[in-house]
Symmetry: C2
Subunit: 460 residues, 2 copies
C-alpha cells in the first residue's frame, strides 16, 4: 500500500489528506501533527477568547472520530525533524524525544506559518503573548482570567479581531499600529472607518506608533516606544505578522522564494520529486498579478491543500490563483476586499482609477437597512475591473458582496459588466441596483469624464 | 429642445428618464404617469401591508422633490391613450378626461404589467382584490383593517410575500395554489421547504387546488373549487400572475411576441422609428437561452430602462440579458435562484445534472449559524454551470450567494471553477469553502461518477 505522509494538521494538511483519501483509497494517508489538536480552525481563536465560542473543542473543523472515520492515520504530538528525499524517509520525533525514520511514497508539507517576533525589548516577559498554537491560546486565556487592560501590538486583521474579542470581555484595550492607519489591507479611507468603529467601542487606537520595549512593574507590563505615550496593561498580545515555517522543507533542499516561502508550481509541487507543499508555508500564485506572492489565508490553504492531495495521488490539478480576497469582522463592521488596490494595480502596469460610493444594503424603507462604503478600482485603458473594497455593517451581506466582485475578477470582467449582471433583488435583501453596481456605474462615469479619484454618494 | 417622452412612472420609466437626463441634459424629458405615485417601489407593497413600512410615502424610490431636482417634468394622473408614430405625437388624457396631442422626438414605453384576472366566478365581489397600483394597495389595506382571515389565490412569490405580510397582522391566512407545490420558480424539493416554513408560521397551504368560485355570505367571502375544502375569509387576494400592458404599444403598431409582450431588440428599440420600450411590458432577452422570454422583474426593468434612456438620446447600449435571478423572503427563509433548472436546461439542449447539498452560512462554532440547502445544476458534457438554487435563513447571506452564482453564469464558468474562485472567509460570515463551493465539488464528483441526481450532506 503506497503511503502519503502529510506533515501538518491544520487547513492545508487536512484538505490534502481528505482529498487524497477521497480520490484514491488505495493510499495509506498518515498525518503528522505537532500537537494534540489536528484540524483546528485557528481563525476561530478570537471567538474562543471573546467567549462567543465557550468550548475550545468546537473550534475543530472535524472531531477526532470524524477524521478516524475517513481512514486517515493521525500521529499526534509528533514532529517531523528532517526529510531525506533520496531515501524517501522523514525523521519523526514523538513527545518523549524518541525518533524514528518513516518511509513515504508521496509527501505533503503543510507546516504553516509562525508569528513574527518583532525586535522589542522585553518580548520574552511573562504576560507577553504571541498566538500560534492552541497551547498559546490557552496560555493567553489563563493570563486574561484576571486581567483588566490589554495592549495589542499590530492593527492588522488578527490584532483587530482580538481587540473586538477582548472588548467583549470588558477589558480596556489599546491597539498600537506602526503604520498611519489600521487595517492596511484596505485603503486608508476605509481604515479610517475601521479606526472609528474601534474607538466607538472604547478601544484606544494609536497609529504611527512603534513599540520599542516592554517592562515589568510588579505584575503589570508597561509598553513604550515612539509616537505614543507609554501604556500599562496586564497582558500584551503581539500580532504583527507571520512568516512561513520552512525549516523542515529547507532541510530537504526545497527552494525558498517570496518572503522565504517554499517555491511550488501551480500543482503545489516543490522542485523535489514526490514532495508537494501547501498552505501558509508556500508561495501563493496571484491570479491577477500572474506571479507568486505570500498570502497566508485559510481559504488559500484549503484550496492548495486540496490540489496537493489530488496531485499526490496522481492527479494533475492546477491552482487557479488567489485574488487577494479577505473579510474580517470588527465589532459591528464587516471589512472586505478583493483584487488589487490603486498602488498594487499601478505597480502591476495598470492605469487604475478608484471611485468611492455609498449604498444601502437593502431598501431603506424595509427595517434594518444599513449603509456601506464601496471602493471600485478599474483600469482606465480597457475598463477592466481590478478590485473592490467594502466596509459595511456585519448584517449587510458584505462578505458575499465582495465575493460577487471576486467572481467577476476571476472572469476578468469589465467594471461596466458588473452593472450588467442580473443580480437578485427583494427589498429586505438588496436594491434593484446592488451597491456594487452603483459603484460600477459611478466608476464608468468617472472614467468617461476623465476625472481622477472620485467620491459619489448613494441613491435610495 | 428635443423631447423625450416617457410613458410610465415605475422602474423602467424612471430609469430611462434619469439615464437620458444624465447623458444629455439638452433633452427635455417628460414622464407621463397614470396615477399620483411616480417612481414607487411596487416590490415594497407587502411591507406596507405588513406594517413593517408604516408610511406608504417611504415606498417611493425618490421623492417628488428629488425627481424635480433632476429636471424631469412629471405629468401625473395622466394617461397616454394613443400613439401616432407618423406624426410623432401621443394623445394624453388628464384626470378630467381632457385630451391633448403631445409631440415627441423619442418615446419610451414603460407601461408595465397588469395582474391576470383568472376565470373565477365572483371575482368582481367586494373584498376580492388584485394588486397593481397604489390605489389598489390602499383599497386592500382598508379592507384588511377589521379582517381576521384572508385567502390568497396563488402561491408564487407575490402570494407568499403577502402570506408573510398578512400573518404579521395576526390574520389567519390560507394560500391556494393550483400546482402541486408553492414557489414553482424553484424545484419541488425547494418548494417543499417553503411550504414547511409557511405551515410553521400558521399559514394553511393547499396545493393542487383550483379556485372556481367566490360567493358572499354577509360580509364574509367563501372560496370554493377543486382539490380543497371551501374556505371562508374576510378578504381574498388574487395573485396569480401578470401580463404585459401593451394596449398602447399595439395601438402604435408595435409587434407583440412572447406572452404578448412588446418585441424589442437588445437595444430596447421597438420596430417603430424613435420608439423604445422597457420593463414589464416587453420581452426580455435571456442570456443563457439566447432567446426572448417574458420575465417581469424590477431588476430587469431598471436595466432595460437605463438602456432605453441611453439609446433614446443617441447611445448604443446592448442589454446583457437576464439570467432568471430571483430572491424572495418568506418569513425567516430566503429563497433564491439563478440560471436554468433541470427541465429548462434539458429543453435548451443541455445534458443537465442537479446535485443537492447542505451547508452552514458560517462556521457553526460562531453563534447564529444556520443551514442552507443548495441545488447546483451543470451540464454533464462540458461541465458548464447552468444554474443554482438556495433556500436558507434570511440572515444567511442567501441573496448575495445566489449573486455569486449569477456572476459565474454571466461569464459562463464551469461548475468546478466556482470552487476555484477565491471567495472571502471569516468564521462569522462563511466557511473556508462556501456552501456554493461545497455544492460545486459535490456536483463535480457526481458528474465524474456518472450518477444521476444526487443529494450530499454538509461538512462542518
Amino acid at each position: 500500500m503506497p503511503r502519503l505522509l502529510v506533515i501538518g494538521g491544520s487547513d492545508a494538511g487536512i484538505s490534502s489528506s481528505l482529498r487524497a483519501r477521497e480520490l484514491d483509497p488505495s493510499f495509506d494517508v498518515t498525518m503528522v501533527v505537532a500537537d494534540r489538536y489536528p484540524n483546528f480552525s485557528i481563525c476561530g481563536i478570537p471567538y474562543f477568547i471573546s467567549g462567543e465560542t465557550p468550548d475550545w473543542r468546537d473550534l475543530a473543523h472535524r472531531t477526532r472520530e470524524e477524521i478516524d472515520a475517513t481512514g486517515i492515520e493521525l500521529l499526534l504530538d509528533t514532529r517531523a525533524t528532517a526529510i531525506e528525499p533520496s531515501e524517501r524517509t522523514v525523521e519523526l520525533m514523538d513527545a518523549r524525544g524518541t525518533t524514528e525514520m518513516v518511509p513515504y511514497d508521496r509527501l505533503v508539507i503543510g507546516t504553516g506559518a509562525v508569528p513574527i517576533r518583532p525586535d522589542i525589548a522585553g518580548i520574552e516577559l511573562e504576560g507577553v503573548h504571541l498566538l500560534h498554537t492552541m497551547d498559546d491560546t490557552f496560555a493567553l486565556n489563563d493570563r486574561l482570567a484576571d486581567a483588566e487592560a490589554a495592549v495589542i501590538v499590530g492593527g492588522g486583521y488578527i490584532g483587530l479581531e482580538m481587540a473586538d474579542a477582548l472588548s467583549q470581555r470588558e477589558m480596556a484595550v489599546t491597539v498600537l499600529e506602526q503604520l498611519p492607519s489600521v487595517m492596511t489591507t484596505v485603503d486608508p479611507e476605509m481604515g479610517e472607518l475601521v479606526g472609528r468603529e474601534l474607538r466607538t467601542h472604547g478601544v484606544e487606537v494609536r497609529t504611527s506608533a512603534t513599540v520599542r520595549r516592554i517592562t515589568q512593574e510588579g505584575r503589570a507590563l508597561q509598553v513604550a516606544g515612539d509616537g505614543f505615550d507609554a501604556v500599562t496593561a496586564d497582558a500584551v498580545l503581539i500580532a504583527v505578522s507571520v512568516r512561513p515555517d520552512t525549516a523542515l522543507a529547507a532541510s530537504a533542499g526545497a527552494e525558498l522564494g517570496v518572503r522565504g516561502a517554499i517555491v511550488v508550481d501551480r500543482g503545489m509541487r516543490t522542485g523535489i520529486a514526490n514532495i508537494l507543499a501547501a498552505g501558509d508555508c508556500v508561495e501563493t500564485w496571484h491570479r491577477m498579478l500572474q506571479r507568486p506572492t505570500y498570502m497566508p489565508l485559510g481559504t488559500t490553504a484549503h484550496k492548495q491543500g486540496r490540489i496537493a492531495g489530488e496531485n499526490a495521488v496522481g492527479g494533475d490539478r492546477v491552482f487557479a490563483g488567489s485574488l487577494g480576497t479577505q473579510v474580517v469582522k470588527v465589532f459591528d463592521l464587516a471589512v472586505a476586499r478583493t483584487g488589487l488596490r490603486t498602488a498594487e494595480a499601478a505597480e502591476a502596469g495598470h492605469d487604475p482609477l478608484t471611485v468611492e460610493t455609498e449604498g444601502w444594503d437593502h431598501k431603506v424603507y424595509y427595517p434594518g437597512a444599513t449603509k456601506m462604503t464601496v471602493r471600485t478600482t478599474g483600469d482606465r485603458r480597457d475598463g477592466r475591473l481590478l478590485g473592490a473594497q467594502i466596509v459595511g455593517h456585519r448584517n449587510g451581506q458584505v462578505a458575499k458582496r465582495i465575493d460577487i466582485a471576486a467572481a467577476a475578477l476571476y472572469s476578468e470582467m469589465r467594471v461596466e459588466e458588473l452593472s450588467d449582471v442580473d443580480l437578485s433583488y427583494t427589498p429586505p435583501f438588496s436594491s434593484p441596483w446592488d451597491p456594487l453596481q452603483v459603484g460600477a456605474q459611478a466608476w464608468a462615469q468617472a472614467a468617461a469624464s476623465g476625472s481622477g479619484s472620485e467620491v459619489s454618494t448613494a441613491l435610495r
